[in-house]
Amino acid sequence: MLRDFFIPNGFAEPLTQTRQHESYAQSGVIYASAQLSAEWLAEFATKFRQPAFGFREGSKDWQARAIKAWCQVAREWQKIKFPGAKTILAALAAATGLSQKMLKEALYNHFRVFTEEVLNSWLREVKCDRDRHAEQKMRYPALAFLVSAGNIPGVAIHPLVHLSVLGIPALVKNSSLEPFLLPAILTTLAKHDPTVASRLAALTWSRSNSDLTQTVMEYNPAVIAFGDDGTIEKFAQRKKHFADFGDRFSLTIVNPHRENLRVRQMAYDICMFEQMGCLSPQAIILLTADWKKVEEFCARLAKAMAKMSAILPIGKRTAAQHALIQQWRGALAVRSAAGEKIILLTSAGTAWTVAAAEHFDPNERVAYRFARVWPVASIKDLITIVERYKNKLQILLWGNSGRELEKFFASSELGAAFDNLFFNFAGLAQAPSCGWLDEVNPRWRRLTRGLRLKTTIQ
């Protein structure tokens, strides 16, 4: 039976209750739910918290063992071929509203990067950084508290694997919206290596259950929080060892005057996870002053969105989600009626939308396959946009070839505008590299290096 918790061997299990998940699709997913109390959690945390391995003496054995175990897990989960795979996929689909095809694609993307070579290379880089800043070293935390989000299944997998390889005991608070995935992954890990799994746990409680959250906080954990502003704000008071992956978005940049546009890949980036994550592009910035080019690009993108929607079908959309799409479309319709240059191409229903306008505000978020095409006439205008949203930008995606990207970077107009911003190619937004979190979040980078917070790593 599905469970909303994973407790390593040797710990007293909490009482459980069979529950029906209040899922999106009302498909009646039945699962065993841990009935958590503050007392039980305190007892668990007292025993669970222990010195991390990090890079101390004897850590190499742990690291090798953890990497091996995670690579075994990755092989099974990439292909979704293991006992109970069908059940977990169906439950995830019901809980998130995402289609099973998309969930398979997402799991493949999450796990494909975990090879021994890649993880060892990441570990070497971490060690190298840590040694370079020897004067700022501090002990790795004895407990990490990873607060996961419900909208992107598996969002906590990358940090969890990294914490595990460093031997940091990590307790995940699952989102009650999607409580099944991490317990199932950790169960697979325990099957391959119960010792590696003994430093990981996943429990589920709602954000309103502040007693349980407070109980964990009393053990002075390093906090890694995913989620909306409300979630992040709750933890932001912690000055020490806090890494947030909160409200961010991504943008795609493309020059339509060049060949080899990665249109299909741009559609893929937007369709994955129904455009709800921080890696989802909120707009495609088109480097052109020619509205004809904008029209051509939108037509191509619309075709690609239609095709991608057949490859990665939509799961279950709620009336609220349809309503939001209608409202976004309605706003554009009125802008058009008011005389603005607007292109609005849509599927028959709400499956996908391609809209172009001379201005968008990415802070006004869209989702559910709503592609906003934003033409800018010059590099100067692009720089203005990037600078305006720099503190909210997760990554920038490049919609042309690698050669074009080199040319772009060589442009003298750019100056320092793109310094410290993480670039990737369109199509890879939702399949990032193993170390992408280090690239986009300096606080997380410091945490994995075991360095004091004020350290700056170039």
Partner: protein
């Protein structure tokens, strides 16, 4: 010069018996109003043309093209030059979303609609009451439609001891407590009107102080807006239970208003004695009375097609009192129309915080 349709609608709002749901007159007025708005409101005409709809093609009020509530954020939707507006009401914006603006050439229609339905569904035969407000008023919130409404109700129906306990700075719970005690001593029934969030906040303060009231017979409470964003999750049932326990008011004297800045009319859920009960009343889903100058259709959320009566969908509201803007408004709320009632199934979850509740929340954060 005031158009002929405006006079007809004002007369209709002021004179039609509230129980009279004459489809014929409504259809005539709606058709005429659509023609007026199509001619005078250039942006709206553009939207109609996008949908290839003209007054000549409309056979039924349900076919009149609607604008989404989001449209009010983008451009002034007016049948007159926007700078000539007598009032502009703003929707509550969030950090991520701009406010919408509803421009009024005159507030005559708004006021007429507001006074008639409030008197009928919230006061019944009472002329004046002692009214206490836990929500915006026009003096402090000049761009709030709820502020205009609360002030208008106070001026029209409030007695001399009516008072406001809400400001941009704080919620004056001690002031309200004193006023309630005084009313109890005088055995004067009171009418508390407020946003759900402000009422919750107030009840929490009273709870901490261990204060409960037994308000004089006939006292009533009206709440509006949701309580999404409140520190703790609460159901409507729990909210009403708390109101009854804190203020000592029977359940049938709890009223609810459903309205929005983009409309000029309000809907009231009311079970006051003398208000006709609906046989299909569902305990958890209040039915709101719809005034006869308003109609509601539910539309399919994905394709925006009008659904058969009784089916649940996104609410599309046709408000004749929206004379100088747009009559047909596509909301994000789910529900269905049942003759003269509206059943609200819920606000689309996941949608942004909106409505008057945010006003109180914003004050919380500022404090």
């Amino acid at each position: 010069m005031e158009p002929a349709i405006a006079k007809k609608i004002l007369h209709f709002i002021r004179a039609i018996p509230l129980k009279e749901f004459d489809g014929g007159i409504f259809s005539l007025l709606a058709g005429e109003l659509f023609r007026y708005q199509f001619e005078r409101n250039t942006i709206y005409r553009g939207i109609c043309q996008q949908q290839k709809m003209t007054p000549e093609r409309i056979e039924n009020w349900r076919e009149i093209p609607a604008v989404t509530t989001s449209a009010f954020k983008e451009a002034p939707l007016t049948c007159f030059p926007a700078h000539e507006a007598a009032a502009v009401f703003h929707t509550s914006g969030t950090t991520q979303n701009r406010s919408g603006k509803h421009y009024f050439r005159t507030l005559e229609f708004y006021r007429a609609a507001m006074l008639r339905s409030f008197a009928a569904y919230c006061l019944v035969d009472i002329v004046k009451m002692r009214m206490f407000f836990l929500g915006p008023t026009v003096e402090l919130f000049p761009n709030s439609s709820l502020g205009y409404m609360f002030s208008g109700l106070r001026d029209e129906f409030g007695d001399k001891k009516s008072a406001i306990f809400f400001s941009p700075q704080h919620l004056d719970a001690p002031g309200l407590q004193k006023a309630l005690d005084e009313a109890a001593q005088e055995n004067a029934p009171v009418f508390i009107l407020g946003t759900a969030l402000a009422l919750l906040e107030c009840m929490e303060i009273f709870l901490r102080e261990g204060r409960k009231f037994k308000l004089p017979i006939g006292s009533r409470i009206l709440d509006t807006g949701g309580y999404k964003g409140h520190r703790t999750e609460i159901t409507r049932e729990e909210f009403q239970q708390r109101l009854c326990e804190t203020f000592g008011v029977p359940r049938e004297f709890l009223l609810n208003e459903y309205g929005m800045t983009e409309l000029s009319s309000q809907f009231y859920a009311s079970s006051l004695p003398d208000i006709p009960r609906h046989h299909e009343h569902h305990a958890l889903r209040a039915l709101h009375f719809m005034p006869p100058w308003v109609r509601v259709a539910a539309v399919d959320p994905e394709y925006l097609k009008i659904l058969p009566e009784g089916e649940i969908g996104l609410l599309r509201i046709f408000d004749l009192a929206n004379v100088d803007s747009v009559m047909a408004i596509q909301t994000e709320d789910l529900g269905r129309a049942r003759q003269d009632r509206l059943e609200l199934v819920g606000r689309a979850t996941g949608a942004e915080l909106r409505g008057c509740s945010l006003l109180t929340e914003a004050i919380d954060h500022a404090a």
